[in-house]
Symmetry: C2
Subunit: 347 residues, 2 copies
DNA sequence: CTGTTAGCGCGTTCAA
DNA sequence: TTGAACGCGCTAACAG
């Protein structure tokens, strides 16, 4: 059976031209082909079912079109709005995009960066790869630098401070604004579900929130900042622990919506014990539309983040790495009712 | 700056061996390398920051490891449980996996299949690519056959009937069982949000539901089967249309959970008008845990689907294409309360 | 505008 | 166990 794919030579022969002409006809770049020849090549390719051997093309050219989007994990519960936005943006630009899930270990990321380099793709985007004091980071930086030394473009999404073009969003400011808003609504006793202690995004959101509270004269003791896994399930569990502590609690801030939803569900499952505890999140994922009560959160314009990231990637490499910061804004919904109006929130 | 990646020759030279030996040392396959040489090659590679040029490797070998998972669209709201399961399964097997989003047009799928062939990846999985009377299907089949003729393995997830290994799940049976269950709970007047009229999954679930109703003596007039977009937003809109019609309506069956959640939200937004209308979905996505009321649905073991698909892909190509059918089961939750007990459901 | 020729980086015979 | 030489399929430089 195994017929083997037709090669460029086959197409060329079939069309009665040389491989060079066939190549030129197939690749829109060079116009220097007589129309009749171009037509015959295209027809031959069609007839033979020819498909460019992209691997060979990448070898010959030394690089390959397209963007690789590197993720640490595949979402289990809720779609990642950033990913959806990036896929859409790439499609708009006519760029092939493929998603690679690296795994959470630092070395996994490095391995996948090397793999992308091995594929000679031109653009590499990655999000949330950075940890505080992560011993893996130097290796990651090295791998990314090698990627760029090979002629590729790297854009980091999330955390500034690494020597690459970066799209960051205002985690700290958003959380700060959120805290002020909540205090304004009458909340006083908070807890934070902070996710990984060493994640930069998590840290910024946590610190921003604490700062926001402080600016309103509200203190938050350290034991009310609960670290742990960065997931819906972990947040569900952590919220339960909080309740069992029996401390006074008006509101929980979870560093992302997915965690916030987990907390919200725990409160609901806890019944009366969960009554009166408000919840706020961060990200404003689409799924919030279908959730009751509506979740108060910090909205981020994910499509803009994606578009900006791609814009950076497609522009000429700058002398100095650039950082674009995307702003968000607080959206207050029913999960944090105004305590002055309705003393008993109903999460 | 552009240092260019070290090539295999560089490593070989650095280690004082030939490229052949270097190649053998780097690729675990052939053991015929003296340990001391292997060590030197590995050290040289490490020192130089060598990374295999996967494109060149693919050209030389004629193929490349790994699985390509072809999707029609990136989820916007809720994570696709199948995708998450497949990524996990591939990681377990140590197989590189990359996700490609093709777009919804039939030709897009063909193009991406060809691209995967051009990459010479070994395994191609795709889900939900098939439509009834889709003029694109013959082309798709041709493209997939070429992929296999090149030595690749194709596994389809969803719809049997195409000449490839397939993992299907019991859409029709699940919907049938669901219908019976709902009738048993006391519902009589249904509507179906059926999604695309020509999608096979949608059709099977719709038909199964209708059959289930019929087997209980409940008729469903054709005008209560609403077709349209296969999305949460479309379902939201369609549910609104249903309400405005002013027909008697006990329960809505949406052909997937995402649509069901959209309908549920519409009913909530509609306030009193939405009171008393139950909703059921299909898939049992993880996000349902955080939704109130809990959504009645048909549970499918997505990890099993993924595992089975990979198992088929990794086994020898059979003479005849195989089809594995994965069973699901109904899960009744609060979105469809027992009418005998509580006359007024509260969606 | 076209064909010839020489690479791209790697795997893999085939002798040694 | 090793190395020299060739081939994978394609693009690019150079003539014509």
């Amino acid at each position: 059976m195994e017929h083997r794919s037709p090669r460029l030579v086959d197409v060329a022969r079939h069309a009665g031209v040389s491989t060079a002409t066939a190549s030129r006809a197939l690749n829109p770049s060079s116009r220097s082909v007589r129309d009749s020849n171009r037509a015959r090549v295209l027809a031959a390719a069609e007839e033979l079912g020819y498909t460019t051997n992209l691997a060979a093309q990448a070898v010959a050219r030394g690089h390959s079109r397209g963007v690789t989007l590197l993720l640490k994990a595949m979402p289990q519960d809720y779609a990642n709005p950033m990913v959806a936005g990036m896929v859409a943006a790439a499609h708009r630009e006519g760029l092939p995009i493929n998603l690679v899930v690296a795994g959470t270990a630092a070395h996994d990321l490095v391995r996948e960066v090397d793999a992308a380099r091995g594929q000679r793709t031109q653009i590499l985007m990655t999000m949330g790869g950075r940890h505080i004091d992560d011993r893996g980071t130097p290796d990651l930086v090295t791998a990314l630098q090698r990627y760029e030394a090979d002629g590729g473009r790297v854009v980091l999404i999330t955390q500034p401070g690494l020597p690459f073009d970066t799209v960051a969003y205002a985690n700290r400011e958003g959380a700060r604004e959120l805290a002020r808003e909540l205090v304004g609504l009458g909340y006083e006793h908070f807890a934070i579900l902070a996710g990984y202690a060493n994640g930069l995004t998590q840290r910024d959101r946590t610190q921003g929130f604490v700062e926001g509270l402080a600016s309103c004269g509200v203190e938050l003791s350290a034991d009310r900042i609960v670290t742990g896994d960065f997931s819906r399930d972990a947040a569900y569990a952590a919220a339960g622990d909080l309740l069992r502590r029996g401390i006074r609690l008006d509101a929980i801030f979870a560093v992302n919506d997915s965690m916030a939803l987990g907390a919200l569900t725990l409160l609901r499952d806890a019944g009366a014990r969960g009554q009166g505890v408000a919840v706020a999140g961060f990200d404003d994922i689409k799924a919030l539309r279908d959730v009751t009560p509506g979740l108060t959160t910090v909205h981020l314009p994910w499509d803009d983040v994606a578009t900006e990231a791609l814009r950076l990637a497609l522009s000429d490499r700058p002398a100095e790495p650039r950082t674009s910061v995307i702003q968000g804004h607080v959206v207050v919904r029913e999960s944090t009712p105004d305590r002055h109006m309705a003393p008993a929130p109903r999460p």
